[in-house]
Structures are given as structure tokens and as C-alpha cells.
């Protein structure tokens, strides 16, 4: 057991090292991301400011609160982009045979899929997230108590797992469809819309979908609503979101992993 754990850690660290080296091979690419990503997210927050200034607070959420919400969602997105970006390419690997190579190695396939690319360029995604979130904390007067920091970490963990589960489940569809029709773009825009704005401003049906069916409301909206002491819409949940978000994250992730295993079985029995 311990030997096996050491084996996986040794391989994961080697994967990570090689991933950094591969990214350093293309410095100009790195610079272009360094320029583009912050522009993308800072313009996102600017849009929120314009909407709130020109019109009215969104469903009772003013600009500082929206900044807090947006920042929280962006950080979990940034962490996802660093550690789970390979889940965006499952369809590609299934279709071009990259999957066969994973099956030919004496290690867990899911581990190889996730660990084989740690995307350090993704840290650039985290920078605007952290800046916007800290600014949001500052203007809403967030209480940096130990309890709150602990809750925050649990919420981030859960948020990353929920996002990863969504991409894994969507990517796994390729095992059945055998088509390179990526759902990543669709999932990204859905995630952005559901984590950037307060969920309570959407119709009931969408709130219900984003709570029970595809629980992305737990990534940023429910935690932010509770941190800020706001109404979270129709749904009144017992217990703190600090328990709900990581629990739902783990459940979703396990479900996604199960779907992935089903997909692999399908692949093994059908071939490509």
C-alpha cells in the first residue's frame, strides 16, 4: 500500500516536472497567456460594475458582493485549470488512440489521465481570481477569522471537485459517441454564467437545475450567500455550505469517476 502510494507520487511528480519543461519550451505562448487571461477576467468584473452602476443591484446584490461572488468562482476555476485541464481533452484521447497508451502502462488509467498534465500556465488564471476575490473581501469587510478561512478552503476544494466532475462526465461521453464534439466550451460558458451572477436572479427552474441536477450553485453562489448573510433564493438548506459544498464535490467526483469507468468498459468491449 505504502509502496504503491510512493510509486504514484513518484510518477506524479515526474509528470509535473515534465509538464513544466514542456511549457517552458514555448515562452512566447506563455507571455501571450500572461497578457490575455487577466484582461479577460478584469473585463468581466468591469462588466459587473457597469451593470450595477447604470441599472440597479442584481437581485439585491450590490457591486462589492458581486465582486466577492465572482472572485470566489474564479479562484476555483483557476485551480481546476492547473490540476484538471486534461479532463478537457478526454474526447481527443479517446478518438486519436492516446487512451490505448494509458491502458498499456501498469498504472491506474484515471490517475494517468489527470496527473499527466499539470498546467502551470493555469496559475495565470488564478492571479486575477485572487486579486478580484481579495478586493471583494476588502470592500464587503470579510472577517478573516480562522473558522472562515477553514470554511473558505473547504468551499474551494468542493468547488474544484464539482467543476472537475462536470468536465469528466462530459468528456466521457466520447467513449459512446466516438466523436470529437467537445462539450468543453459549452460547459465553460454555463459555469461562468452560473457562478458569476447570483443564482437567485434566475427563474426557479434554472435554480433547481443548478442546485440538484448540475449542482454548480454550490461552487460560489450558496457559499457566498451565506458568507455575506444574504437570502439564497427559494432553497433553505440546513447545515452550513462549508459542509455541503465539499460533500457535494466529493459525491459528484465519485459519480464522474464511476461514469468514466463505465466509459472505459464500453471502450474495452467495443474498441474504436
Amino acid at each position: 500500500m505504502l509502496a504503491s502510494f510512493k510509486h504514484y507520487v513518484s510518477v506524479a511528480s515526474c509528470f509535473a516536472k515534465l509538464a513544466v519543461q514542456r511549457q517552458l519550451e514555448y515562452p512566447l505562448f506563455l507571455v501571450s497567456w500572461l497578457l490575455m487571461i487577466p484582461i479577460q477576467y478584469f473585463s468581466g468584473i468591469w462588466m459587473l460594475k457597469i451593470i450595477v452602476d447604470r441599472f440597479q443591484p442584481l437581485n439585491g446584490w450590490d457591486f462589492p458582493e458581486l465582486t466577492f461572488l465572482y472572485g470566489l468562482g474564479l479562484i476555483s476555476h483557476g485551480i481546476l485549470v492547473v490540476f484538471f485541464i486534461n479532463t478537457w481533452h478526454i474526447d481527443n484521447m479517446v478518438i486519436n488512440g492516446g487512451f490505448d497508451r494509458l491502458l498499456l502502462r501498469p498504472m491506474n488509467v484515471f490517475f494517468q489521465l489527470v496527473a499527466s498534465y499539470v498546467n502551470f500556465i493555469g496559475l495565470i488564471d488564478c492571479i486575477p481570481g485572487i486579486v478580484i476575490f481579495l478586493y471583494g473581501c476588502h470592500i464587503v469587510g470579510f472577517d478573516w477569522s480562522l473558522a472562515n478561512i477553514g470554511k473558505l478552503l473547504l468551499v474551494l476544494l468542493g468547488g474544484v471537485l464539482i467543476r472537475a466532475a462536470l468536465f469528466i462526465a462530459l468528456g466521457t461521453i466520447a467513449f459512446w459517441t466516438k466523436r470529437n464534439a467537445s462539450m468543453v466550451g459549452f460547459a465553460l460558458s454555463m459555469l461562468e454564467r452560473a457562478t458569476m451572477y447570483p443564482l437567485s436572479m434566475y427563474p426557479y427552474i434554472l435554480q433547481a437545475i443548478f442546485t440538484f441536477l448540475i449542482p454548480i450553485g454550490f461552487i460560489s453562489f450558496y457559499p457566498a450567500a451565506e458568507f455575506l448573510g444574504k437570502s439564497n433564493g427559494v432553497l433553505e438548506l440546513p447545515l452550513s455550505f462549508a459542509l455541503w459544498t465539499p460533500t457535494i464535490g466529493i459525491v459528484c467526483f465519485l459519480l464522474a469517476h464511476w461514469v468514466f469507468r463505465m466509459g472505459m468498459k464500453k471502450y474495452e468491449s467495443a474498441g474504436s
Binding site: 513518484s10 510518477v11 514555448y26 490505448d100 498499456l104 502502462r105 501498469p106 474495452e268 474498441g271
Partner: protein, 326 residues
């Protein structure tokens, strides 16, 4: 001797959807799909002893790669049993693949952007090869494959031959018992082909490595394999020592002669003229009746030959022609 690979009644079934013509047909297939089951691999059995080099050959679509994928644990068979080193790859994939090396000629497992050596370090960790064994293996591999010339070059800058040598080393550095090679010489020039073949022979001789090879290249087969398993339409149509099979597969060759001026008597007792176009003449001859050298020397005595070439039959065409009835 205990077999390294034991395959009994292997079957792999595919579902093929039959599609109607045009838009109407497409809609009809969407609503009422017509599916038929086809056996891509249809009851294959064979067993391979340690240290054999076996050519697994057959035309495209004969079920070659499907069989290889089942032997290596990538695909699961519909029925039948497989034992590799005594273990079923479907029951314990990780245990089996640890003993295998697999090279796909068309696809590399090396990291494109990085120097060749980096990929080896990753594989060393994946296969848990300790440092001392790794150094030892790399010394042997580096020597035979001359890796030192390019181990610090990024893989994307390697020639196809160098890349293939790198891929062979990558497949061998955990000292596997069985090496699967899928089209290892495809697209390579003559020198590179030689290097690859020498390496395979060397590893087989030195370490008793068992090799299973699929190829379109007749020279690969003739120079490497002691035994052939020929498949067509998902069935084994021939399994035996190469000498008894190769004659059947390559009953005749072609000699193309270009003359300096027209001649009257072109005939030769051991060859038939199958085509004549201006000054170019195509002779078909059987290897067992007359060698190319004899034929050329006979013809050059009576004909003013300007240019000539010997054409090898294509291995796939030969299999299709010989085993048409199966």
C-alpha cells in the same frame, strides 16, 4: 516449454450499423437502426513459446490490430481465452502490461517537446525500474541503438528512424518478456530498417525476448521471423515455420526489362511474359524455378538490356490471392 502467449478460440464481435441511401435512408437508419454483428476476430487460436519471433500478418481488416489489442489488454474479447505469461490481461491488466513492451510504428509514446532522455526517466518511474537496472539496460540499449547521438535532442527534431529507435528503447527499458511491434519499419529508409531489424535480432538472441510483429514489409518477415501466423477474415489461415509459408505467399516475382532496341525472341523457358509496352517487357517468374540472378544473366546474353528491376510481390496482395477461398 511453457507458452508465453496462449490464445484459445478468440472471438471479437463488432456491431455494424447498416445505413440506407440518401436523406431518407439516414432518417430511416436513425429511427430503425439495422444492426448486424460481424466477427472481426473469428475463433483464433495459437500459442507462442519463449524466444520466438513470430510474424503476425494479414491484409488490412483481417483482425491483426484487434488481436494485438486484446493480447495487450486494451480490448476485451467477446469470447475465448488469452493467457500472457500465464495471466489473463482482462483479469489483471496491470500485471500483464508490466511484462510487455509495445511499439506502434505510427504513434510515438515519446514526449514531442522534450529531449529524448526525459521520456525514459518518466518510463523508468512508471515501470518502477531501479536506478542500477536502468543504467544497465540503457547501456545495452544505447549501445545497440546508438542512442547517445541524439538522447539530448528534442523528439520533434529527430528523424523518423531515430524516433523509432527511441521508441524501441522506451518499450524495452523495463526488460519486458514480450515485445509487440506494430509496423515497426513503416516509412523508414533502408539504413534505418536495418538498424531496427538488427536490434530486434540482438535482443532476441541476448535476452530470449519473444517478439510478435505485424508488418507489410516482406523483408521484415524474411529476415526476422522464424514463424508466421497468417490471418484473413478474422481466421488463422496458416501457422508454421516461415520457409513452408513464404513460398506460397510469394510464388512469383516480376522482372521488368527495358531494351535498347526491339528484338524478336524475347522468351525464356522459366519465365512468362505478361506484358510488353514498347521497349519494356514484364517477365513473371517463380523463385523456386529460377533465381533472379539466373534469369537476368540468361536474358542479358541474348538481349540488349538497357535497364532492369525486380519487383517484390506485395505481401497483402499475395495473402488475398492465395487465401481467397477462406
Amino acid at each position: 516449454m511453457e507458452a508465453v502467449i496462449e490464445v484459445i478460440d478468440l472471438v471479437k464481435e463488432y456491431t455494424i450499423a447498416k445505413k440506407g441511401r440518401g436523406l431518407r435512408g439516414s432518417l430511416k437508419s436513425l429511427l430503425f437502426p439495422q444492426k448486424t454483428k460481424v466477427n472481426g476476430v473469428d475463433g483464433i487460436s495459437f500459442s507462442i513459446a519463449p524466444g520466438e519471433i513470430v510474424g503476425y500478418i494479414g491484409p488490412n481488416g483481417a483482425g491483426k490490430s484487434t488481436t494485438i489489442k486484446m493480447l495487450t489488454g486494451i480490448l476485451h474479447p467477446t469470447s475465448g481465452s488469452i493467457k500472457v505469461c500465464g495471466i489473463s490481461p482482462q483479469a489483471d491488466r496491470k500485471a500483464v502490461v508490466g511484462k510487455l513492451g509495445v511499439v506502434f510504428g505510427q504513434r510515438t509514446q515519446l514526449y514531442w517537446d522534450l529531449r529524448l532522455g526525459e521520456s525514459f526517466e518518466l518510463l523508468r518511474r512508471i515501470y518502477q525500474v531501479d536506478k542500477a537496472t536502468y543504467e544497465e539496460n540503457m547501456a545495452v540499449l544505447g549501445d545497440v541503438l546508438k542512442l547517445n547521438d541524439f538522447i539530448d535532442t528534442p523528439v520533434r527534431q529527430l528523424s523518423l528512424g531515430q524516433r523509432m529507435r527511441g521508441d524501441l528503447a522506451a518499450a524495452m527499458l523495463h526488460s519486458p518478456s514480450v515485445l509487440f511491434l506494430d509496423e515497426p519499419t513503416i516509412g523508414l529508409d533502408a539504413d534505418a530498417k536495418h538498424a531496427i531489424r538488427d536490434f530486434i535480432k540482438e535482443m532476441n538472441r541476448k535476452m530470449g525476448l519473444t517478439v510478435i510483429l505485424t508488418t507489410h514489409d516482406l523483408d521484415d518477415v524474411e529476415q526476422l521471423c522464424s514463424r508466421l501466423v497468417v490471418v484473413n477474415h478474422g481466421k488463422v489461415v496458416e501457422d508454421g515455420p516461415i520457409d513452408s509459408i513464404i513460398g506460397k505467399l510469394t510464388p512469383h516475382r516480376l522482372l521488368v526489362v527495358e531494351l535498347e532496341r526491339p528484338c524478336d525472341d524475347l522468351s525464356h523457358p522459366a519465365a512468362t511474359i505478361i506484358k510488353q509496352e514498347g521497349l519494356k517487357v514484364w517477365y513473371q517468374f517463380e523463385k523456386v524455378r529460377v533465381t533472379a540472378a539466373e534469369l537476368i544473366s540468361d536474358l542479358s546474353q541474348k538481349l540488349p538490356i538497357q535497364d532492369l528491376s525486380v519487383k517484390e510481390p506485395d505481401i497483402e496482395d499475395a495473402i488475398r490471392a492465395v487465401y481467397k477461398g477462406y
